[in-house]
């Protein structure tokens, strides 16, 4: 089992450290003995066929799986910034502030563009208009959306295009100042132009955030990520620099998968 990368990438600081993780839905084990480090301010892509466990694994990082009654960690641990996130004293709300998430289908609130961004801050008790205005603008700029929506901030977010809605969701995730952004198939419902914009955004955001992305689109993984992990049947098969995974992987299964000879 591959646990560390032998990549030629510059040495980076691990922000997520996963050690021997076993995870199950009831009696069905979904992840087997997964160990890997995810590095700060890089984009890490998870690839693999449907059911390989990549989304389950992604959702372990902000304990989204807690919402599924039968889901449970059987063994191993996940540390973020050195803290075991499954310990009973960990505040899950606080964890999710630090580990934001963007889903496959954009899910803006049925509110104005402005209120979508300000929502997270308001529930934290921040009401001052100047602060909210500033954060809304910052987040929309970071999500490369400001120029497109600055004149219609009070319009409903539901009137935006699919690509704009997805970038709004990214902007909304940024509002609570996370350090890590999880993206679960963020472009699967978008057209090529909107996909390109989100990919450009990911490239920009990695200057300030650590990004973990699950994608079925191997070309997307190749384009946007620094490191790629290939999963199959709940096991981490290979994890390395994206260049290595796509140009000269070490494992035959990885080679077969990335070259389309799988199955």
């Amino acid at each position: 089992m591959v646990t560390k990368t032998n990549s030629s990438l510059k040495e980076c600081t691990p922000i997520i450290e996963v050690s021997e993780l076993d995870f199950a839905y009831g009696s069905t084990q979904a992840l087997f003995n997964v160990s890997m480090d995810i590095y700060e301010k890089q984009v890490t892509a998870f690839i693999g066929p449907s059911g390989c466990g990549k989304s389950t694994f992604l959702r372990c990082f902000n304990r989204m799986n807690d919402l599924i009654e039968v889901a449970h960690t059987k063994g191993g641990n996940i540390k973020i910034n050195g803290v075991d996130i499954n310990k009973p004293d960990v505040d899950v709300i606080e964890l999710r502030k630090h580990v934001g998430m963007v889903f496959q289908k954009s899910n803006p609130f049925p509110k104005s563009i402005y209120d979508n961004i300000a929502y997270g801050l308001r529930i934290q008790g921040i009401k001052k208009k100047e602060i909210l205005d500033q954060v809304v603008e910052e987040c929309l700029r970071s999500a490369a959306l400001w120029d497109e929506v600055k004149d219609r901030l009070q319009e409903s977010a539901l009137g935006m295009s699919g690509g704009q809605q997805q970038r709004l969701c990214i902007a909304r995730a940024l509002a609570v100042k996370p350090r890590i952004l999880l993206m679960d198939e963020p472009c699967s419902a978008l057209d090529p132009v909107a996909t390109a914009k989100v990919e450009e955004l990911i490239h920009e955001l990695k200057k300030n955030y650590t990004i973990v992305i699950v994608t079925h689109n191997m070309q997307q993984a190749a384009r946007v990520s620094d490191r790629t992990a290939f999963f199959y049947l709940g096991k981490l098969i290979e994890y390395d620099a994206t260049d290595t995974i796509f140009m000269n992987p070490n494992n035959e299964q990885t080679e077969a998968y990335v070259s389309g000879r799988f199955g």
């Binding site: 132009v193 190749a222 260049d243």
Partner: protein, 220 residues
Amino acid sequence: MQRYFHEELEQIRSKLIRMSEKAREVGQLALEGFVECDLKKAERALVMDDEIDALEVEIDRDAVRYITLRGPVSSDVRLILVAIKASHDIERVGDEAHSIAKRTSSILRREGKVFQPVAIAEMGEIAFSMLGDAITAFIEGDLELARSIVHRDSEVNRLNRENYKTLSSELDGDLDNELGEASTQIKIIFISKSIERIADHAKNLAEEVIYLQTGDYYNS
């Protein structure tokens, strides 16, 4: 929309231009070494080939990476294909230049000067102007200039045939006389052939520019 990875394509293009300029510089230096009987120039040209070889490897590696990770299409994939083919042509120009320099050096070390009965300088002038124009056509995307290069190759071929005829007839006489002179004639035949090959590679480069610009293979 310009994507962040298009910069990588621009880097490949820049490396190809740098490699071409380097090959032209080495080739011209080698030719000057021969024409001016300048051993120093010939020997300088001998050691300049390594950078060209290294750039070819780099371009190949970058091109494979770009194809694998970026999924280029249309003019982008044509540029990658041209980079791979052109870098091979340019590397061969470097090799021919090295060969000219090596033979010139050998002649000059033994004889101190080169007796030049044939049109090497004239051939070189045409071949290197073809190469220079091919580089310009690539940089500026000048289709007309690229097309004009293709036909200039025939004059270089004609001169090479004449050189061969002259030198080989002299060679028949020399073989009866002195082995050293015969060796020089043979070396000059090879130098003439190297220049003719440089013109061939310049023509290939021009055809690659035409393919890059139009997507069609040039049929001369």
